[in-house]
Symmetry: D3
Subunit: 158 residues, 6 copies
């Protein structure tokens, strides 16, 4: 018998019943980054000050993607998101763009998947915009930092 | 002046004109993995043999996501994908699920973004299905392995 | 004068105002089946035990489709679904795959359309995966079995 | 070993490679119907002459749904549809609405799924618009009538 | 420092936090029109009485588009719409089709964008259906007429 | 008998058959603008130089919307767009933001609707981002400027 809640007692996938869960405020924060050549990072950095705003576009892509999470992840519940914040930062010493995303809702299930999806798509969009000059970029460390609200309570990455 | 092709000469984002590019067969292969607790990996492994097929569902999610790439990545061209293959493997020694995705098309632009998107969403789906038992799982090493076709020719990760 | 609620007094289609309806728990159960050649059914049956899991994929397709109902059916209200369960069973004596879907929500309108849509798309997906060996498969008997909740109360197929 | 082409040799689902198939004109015709109370059919019939055009809306829903087929059916290839025709007819003697859909494309794979999806969603939309007066309506006989084009050639329901 | 609420204190776009706003009934009414040749208007007018119902299709397109607003407008919150009404009228003296849309919800943010999006897409659909005979049609005067509900209270076009 | 091509000989809507049309390069250019208070325009102008880039976000929204045209406009053919350029300019003398969009494809039908849709959604996004300070903004003059390619040949606004 599996202990994974996304399967019923027959082992068949289902969308878990959250109908009896409380409606509480729920917050999730996720992070991730994309490694690249220092010269690629310089191109992005120049764009944010003047023209060709890679990070601004990646931020919008992440915010929009958070709204499509239930469309992408099969057993995810659709949720009325109440807040999304995508922060993208250039880290010169490690030659990467770091992304941290916060998502909130008032509902019966959490927004961890929304925060992770926004992070992933923001980083994918950085890849897309820079791939002509650097195909080797790598997305790393996409993970949950923190979540609060709901029956399982708060969780903080140890 | 930026050298990133996704911006025009005024530095404004645009969808690059690919109208004069040749229609050729294009292939892209991407990879990535998700690290987890060994006990989580064991739950997934049991499911693939009996019930609760996490990897089967993640595979479908990745294939479907590849078809939504242009919907997620703002400056990506819509493409008629002709083939998608998502391989997911349990790696016990490193306690992770490894994903490798192949996408093909005949068209005027490549399918690198489709392969990366499928990889990301497959791994996100693994996260979703196991998060109740392991919130700390981390997605790593999402990157292009190889691409062929098109004016820029073949590229193989060094 | 039409008695159909999806039209206003001028006979023009509209999305009915449900703003004053109570928020109650609502459940709908729908069913349907797909008839096929016995040899096709055998191929599906073999897959569920070993490889090539047609029913597992059809189940996921149905669950995902339930979330797109308001996108497909023009005058349907968007709803935050709280539970979806798609059961698919092989019926050897009648040579068909039977599907029964349960959908729940807490909201101002019912989920009959979501349950019917999930059923339809699950059966369509069975068709897609087996059509190379059996183009004559036929989808039959897609209908509501039961609904509860809301002003119109419970309904049970007589 | 499964004989279903939607699985690779390991029995894992994939989107079949159609890259080497010829680009030919492909046509598919599907049909289906929805049974209802005679009084419901009368309401629909009155609407088509005057106000409250149920069939006109169902037709549009079907056409739009054909464009979403690859979004609904997991292993379906995205296709540039070149023509869709949805015919809906009132059949008083059998108390049902009959639907026949024709879809065309020029491409590397057929449009059977598009024709079936359009038929299903047209009939679902009839259900939605009339369900307040007749919850017992049943969708029946959704199946392929004919397809032409492609390597497998023409097929006509026997 | 910008006073636009869609940017945080660092000037970066975000989806504004509406989690602490009250859930109230919210209504928005928008309008707009499309100017055309008198002969084009005559063709539309003939269709509404007999065949080729341009306005009926434009109405459905507008209603469906209102449900996609959060998918189109990047920083818009997803909302469970409870009512949509799209009125389209032929104005012979000014040779145009006039559109007025009402949208309602019970939620934490308003539905102005939903009403404007429905209006825009209804008028675009009129354009699409008539463009073969009149490419010069122009969409004009798309604007909010009124909104009520929420902290900012009622607003009526002066 | 209607002369509108989006209806068949029975007066029923259909997606016109373009299967026999030539595949040619097709270009469409559309324009439109949004009128606002001079103080609102000043807020936008400040953002483009420093922070809170309203026009950058509106541009991305327009580009992404062009890819959803066939999803919004019921009888529009899905098309593989090869180029999109959205230009947004601040016009201080008339206190408005002007938008001009160019879309290209190689295909069997034109991209007029894609250019108009991108224009509409770019302007709607400007509205969304500034509505908290100026609810009275009005979208005006959305129309085709030029199209080329296809059987009907070139068209230039007189």
């Amino acid at each position: 018998m599996t202990q994974l809640t996304h399967f019923n007692q027959s082992g068949e996938a289902h969308m878990v019943d959250v109908g009896n869960k409380d409606i509480t405020e729920r917050v999730a924060i996720a992070e991730g980054y994309i490694e690249m050549n220092p010269t690629t990072l310089t191109l992005i950095e120049q764009g944010t000050h003047k023209k060709g705003d890679v990070l601004g576009i990646a931020r919008i892509a992440g915010i929009m993607a958070s709204k499509k999470t239930a469309d992408l992840v099969p057993l995810c519940h659709p949720l009325p998101i109440s807040h999304v914040e995508v922060n993208l930062e250039i880290e010169n010493d490690t030659s990467r763009v770091y992304c941290r995303t916060t998502v909130k809702t008032r509902g019966q299930t959490g927004v961890e998947m929304e925060a992770l999806t926004a992070t992933q798509v923001s980083l994918l969009t950085v890849y897309d915009m820079c791939k002509a000059v650097d195909r080797g970029m790598t997305i790393q460390g996409v993970r949950l930092l923190k979540k609060s609200g709901g029956k399982s309570g708060d969780w903080l990455r140890p």
